[in-house]
Amino acid sequence: MDQYAIRAEKLNYRYDDTLDESAFSLKDISFKVERGTCLGIIGRTGSGKSTLIRLFNGLQKASSGKLYIDGIDLTDKHADLKAIRSKVGIVFQQPEYQLFAETVREDIAFGPRNMGLSEDEITRRVEKVAGVLGIEEILYKSPFELSGGEQKKVSIAGIISMEPDILVLDEPTAGLDPMSRRFIIEWLKKYLADDVKTVVIISHAMEDVVEIAENVMVLKNGAVDFFGDPRDLFTDEEIFIRNGLLRPEHIEIMQSVKEHGHEVEVFTRTIADAADILERTLNRQ
């Protein structure tokens, strides 16, 4: 078995549009994601992030290049897409595009049912994910009368219940209130603690990415602008400027502290870590 959960080699994708033949949306994308790790993908709107993840479960086919999911070649014409889609779970940005059933319970059961699981197994899975995501109390409500945060949790539950090896989340915290957002990030950290689960997260919220990602990819106009350790990325202001992105506030603060002549570590994953470093610096003086 392949050591990598996702392995892309010179992936190209172009839109099939006769009127604009120069429309290349992904150019020579190569990267590897090790099993059990979290990859963060960042880049401005239109940089190709959402197109890229659509290749991960065969919703779209690459024009050229190779894409391996757990060693299975997705660019092969005979790839079993149904099997791939239960292996790679994608949670899209807007939960309202997937919620349709009469009750939350039925909606979460949709994926497992399509996988052909037994009713007992479906019930077991629905109850398990409802417990993990704290949505037991709304299981018999209509998904349309929920708040945005609850809908997001239900849409995640609908994917998690398929127990995918690779979980892909497109903007999981966008448009959520601070409490729901904190909940999602804390839950993701717990989810990642199980080290066979691989996670890919697209986010405009840099503080989410810096908190959980082991590797970060910056996409710029459909090409990889940076791939690697977030420590190298978040201490390099230049990459952020040329991509029209902003670093998390706590890193900006640490940067200013350093520029004021204090010897501090600029890169930290969380605000709490930054606060610790500041406290130690203050105590030293």
């Binding site: 099939d16 149904k82 889609r85 994608i90 899209f92 309202e96 997937q98 349709f100 994926g111």
Partner: protein
């Protein structure tokens, strides 16, 4: 999914784009009527060529027509086959087994294909060179006599504008919904008819929910900008028949006269 050609307006600076939508639509209707009243194949051919000649003028690639022709091709082929085998008249061109192909059948089908191709070309031209807003304004103009009998033509035009405005939005939404449901293992393209109808539910429900939400939001946004059903509404742009329109009308009329003359006086019997 994304290359459905509807609302395919592309802005270019061309005489056809500058033309008044009312003139274009009226000319298009006249063109279609003329096309079907002509009996002479040469006249029909000239009309087809005339439409194709307008593509460079409008700066629209001709292959657009081919793309729009493709969806109706199965119907064209079916009608062609039925007519070729069933229409009897004229001399026998060839026959094999139990099938005999007559000259009239062949003639009929060639005319039909040329006519359809000409119509598709012309309608592609109109839809490529006229923005949806211009089309609805033109339709509102054509409907204006109905105002005398108490029909609110403004509202009809507004409904059409809104409907057209949201077609690309909904195409995009269906695409996103299908992606989300396919990712959950939904099987949309295979299975029995009953299974396929059932598999539409997870796509239609989110689409309708979204449509109602959008309608609500749009109504609110329109009301907060004092929309009152279009009573006493004036236009931001008032279209007047300009120089381009006059020239176009003249060119069109000359072409029509030429085609009618060909239809009456010139007979070339190829078939």
């Amino acid at each position: 999914m994304t290359n459905i050609s509807f609302g395919q307006y592309v802005y270019k600076d061309s005489p056809l784009h500058r033309m008044d939508a009312r003139v274009k639509i009226a000319a298009f209707l006249a063109y279609v009527i003329l096309l079907f009243s002509l009996k002479n194949w040469l006249a029909v051919l000239i009309m087809m060529v005339f439409a194709l000649m307008l593509f460079p003028v409008a700066r629209v690639p001709v292959k657009v027509t081919l793309r729009n022709f493709k969806p109706i091709l199965p119907i064209v082929i079916l009608t062609a086959l039925i007519n070729v085998f069933l229409v009897r008249g004229g001399e026998v061109l060839f026959s094999f087994w139990k099938i005999t192909v007559y000259r009239d059948g062949m003639k009929y089908i060639i005319m039909l294909i040329m006519r359809l191709f000409a119509i598709i070309s012309c309608s592609s031209l109109v839809s490529y060179s006229t923005s949806p807003i211009e089309i609805t304004t033109a339709i509102e103009f054509f409907l204006s006599p109905l105002r005398l009998v108490g029909v609110n033509t403004n509202e009809i035009a507004m409904m059409m504008t809104v409907a057209m405005r949201f077609i690309p939005t909904f195409i995009e939404e269906i695409d996103k919904i299908m992606a989300a449901q396919k990712s959950r293992g939904a099987d949309i393209d295979t299975g029995s008819l009953f299974k396929r109808i059932r598999s539409i539910i997870p796509i239609m429900v989110p689409l309708f929910v979204s449509a109602f939400r959008r309608a609500d939001e749009l109504a609110l946004a329109m009301e907060s900008r004092c929309y009152n059903g279009g009573i006493g509404k004036t236009s931001y742009k008032v279209r007047k028949i300009g120089r381009t329109d006059v020239i176009s009308i003249v060119v069109f009329l000359v072409a029509v006269a030429a085609v009618i003359a060909v239809n009456i006086f010139i007979r070339v019997e190829v078939l």
